[in-house]
Amino acid sequence: MNSKMNAKDISSGALLIAIAALGLYFNLDHPMGTARRMGPGYMPALTFWLLGGLGLAVLLIGLRNGPDRLDRWAWRELGLILASMAVFGALLEQIGFALSILVTVVISALADRSQTVKGVIGCSAFLIALCWLVFIRGLDIRVPFLPPFLGFY
């Protein structure tokens, strides 16, 4: 690999071009209209062509302004944090507020090796109490606190 290549910028350019191409493809469904009476497809066409052009510029500049290698991804942290939040969305209506918080805190805690069992329990208890106070007492959001299948709210 040429030592002047900036892998970050080249990938950035490629990403932008890909998004622009997808956008232009899906924009085929929308009537363009005329410059005077713009249809719903006019602004997207302008935007995505511009985006593609900028992507190309980033890519071309990236061929010569390096070297800058791609960063390593923290897959473990990334996966666990995103999963813990997605799980919250999936579980909230099923198992209620308190248990969802517990599950989310536990999954997210796996992302940081300095966590202790005691710390996680304390943190969950504190957050359940705080969120009950803020969101259920204070803001009155309509969510079951305990698992609904237990039969009481």
Partner: protein, 497 residues
């Protein structure tokens, strides 16, 4: 103006609004002290909580978080050499040196007093220039508006850190994300892929939380925690006569620099703090002392960043154009409350406009009281390890975004934007221009269509109208200047952290 300020004070001084201003200032100071969470993430986190209250109360609280963070950020910069906020990076240069010399108290005191003075002046600047700019803005046609927004986007990209081309691309990508949803004029669904939740567009809160809140947690977790809690001891907070005499001109200059730079889109607190530091290190009579703990190097930048954080409200309140990511969040907060920010806001919602201005000054006074005597409490906040902090941020994000529409879809959307934000960070993209583009995109499309309809499809209208033409010319010059290597290098130096 007196009449208006009285109206503003009568709004700001109600018990309810005072309470929310206080809460905002406290939260702001806290997150300012804590590294790893900034005002943008916090405000997007708290947006869902503000829907239940009056618009003016919501904005007062959110504004308190923003300028509170400027105060809090300087505390850790001085005592720990650890900037809590980007805008406090410069403060570490002289502030921490002062603390090492045993003048931590003086550095904290001048930072707070300078900030208070700057905040007061900036409040007056906002109050005076607001109605003036508004009356100018009311004469704008759709073409002028379009050009103004374009200029705002260009400048925010030019002043962002890193590559200008990539920042411009982020702006355009933001505009593209803003296209998702129902086309206002024809009712056609665009890029919704048959998902009913997307017909109202991508959730603003989900986008901001994902990119700034969630992605930031992952980025923080992958770096090992590095917080040495060897806090410098705080002695007397009183300034000596010499220190007072030396700091005063720096405060004045910093206030002026900050008030001006704050108005620029993309400028804001960090840039003005740096500009003020550069200025002091060239102009001060004691410039030979820079690097060893010169009080001017604390007084100037601290005044500048606080002045800037307040004057950056000017484009938002008068033109409806956000100058930075925090202001983009304010636009989001107003729109969700059913208020379209823009020149008509002063007329239509005087209590909101003047109430906010008055509350800024009240908030600054509160911050002075919150910060100086309670410094020990804020420092002890630093002992809260990040491993307790991030689950809390995560949970608040999750519940907050769910409570918007009581829908799990919003939570999933936030997860996706978290992933996207992480990807962008790994490729060295600046996320702030994206948010500004997202907010301005739909308004730009509307003005573009209206302008072209009025001109019967003639694009020359943008060059024929004098206001529009001059705005576009400024934008072209700003972009062109970035192509000159010498100027680009200066910018890189100024924004290097």
């Amino acid at each position: 103006m007196i009449e208006n300020l009285t109206l503003g004070l009568s709004v700001a001084l109600t018990f309810h609004n005072l309470l929310f201003a206080f809460i905002g200032c406290m939260i702001g100071t806290a997150i300012g002290v804590l590294p790893g969470i900034g005002p943008v993430a916090t405000i997007s986190l708290l947006l869902p909580l503000t829907f239940g209250v009056e618009p003016v109360t919501a904005i007062i609280m959110l504004a308190g978080i923003y300028y509170g963070a400027q105060y809090g950020g300087s505390t850790t910069a001085i005592l720990l050499n650890l900037p809590g906020e980007v805008s406090a990076v410069v403060t570490t240069l002289e502030g921490y040196k002062m603390a090492r010399r045993g003048r931590a108290g003086a550095a904290l005191a001048i930072a707070a007093l300078g900030s208070f003075f700057a905040g007061t002046v900036a409040t007056i600047v906002v109050a005076a220039s607001g109605p003036l700019l508004t009356s100018v803005a009311l004469s704008f046609g759709p073409a002028d508006y379009f050009s103004l927004m374009l200029l705002g986007l260009i400048i925010s990209a030019v002043l962002a850190q890193g590559s200008v081309v990539k920042s411009v691309a982020m702006v355009v990508l933001g505009v593209a994300l803003g296209l998702v949803g129902t086309d206002v004029q024809t009712g056609q669904q665009r890029f919704t892929f048959g998902i009913p939740e997307l017909s109202d567009g991508i959730g603003f809160v989900s986008l901001a939380m994902g990119i700034f809140g969630i992605a930031e947690i992952i980025l923080n977790l992958e770096k090992p925690e590095n917080r040495n809690v060897s806090v410098a001891k705080v002695d007397s907070l009183w300034l000596t006569k010499t220190e007072m005499r030396r700091a005063t001109p720096a405060v004045l200059r910093g206030t002026a620099v900050g008030s001006i730079l704050g108005i620029l889109p993309g400028g804001g607190a960090a840039l003005s703090a740096f500009a003020s530091y550069m200025m002091e290190s060239k102009l001060s009579k004691y410039r030979h002392e820079f690097g060893t703990g010169a009080i001017e190097g604390v007084a100037g930048p601290e005044s500048a960043n606080n002045a800037a954080s307040q004057t950056s409200f000017i484009p938002l309140l008068t033109l409806g154009i956000p100058a930075n990511a925090v202001m983009a969040l304010m636009v989001g907060a107003l729109i969700i409350q059913g208020i379209q920010p823009g020149p008509r806001m002063v007329e239509a919602q005087p209590e909101l406009f003047w109430g906010l201005i008055a509350s800024m000054w009240v908030g600054n006074l509160m911050l002075l009281v919150i910060n100086l005597p309670m410094i020990g409490m804020w420092v002890s906040l630093l002992r809260v390890p990040y491993r307790f902090l991030y689950p809390a941020i995560l949970i608040f994000c999750a519940i907050g975004v769910y409570s918007l529409n009581n829908s799990a879809f919003d939570v999933y959307q936030t997860v996706l934007f978290g992933l996207f934000g992480y990807l962008l960070a790994k490729l060295k993209f600046e996320p702030a221009p994206l948010l500004i583009g997202f907010v301005l995109g739909p308004m730009m499309e509307e003005h573009l269509r209206r302008a072209m309809l009025l001109s019967r499809g003639d694009a020359m209208v943008f060059l024929e109208r004098p206001i529009s033409a001059s705005l576009l010319a400024i934008g072209a010059i700003a972009l062109g200047a970035m192509l000159l290597p010498a100027i680009r290098k200066k910018k890189d130096e100024a924004l290097a952290e």
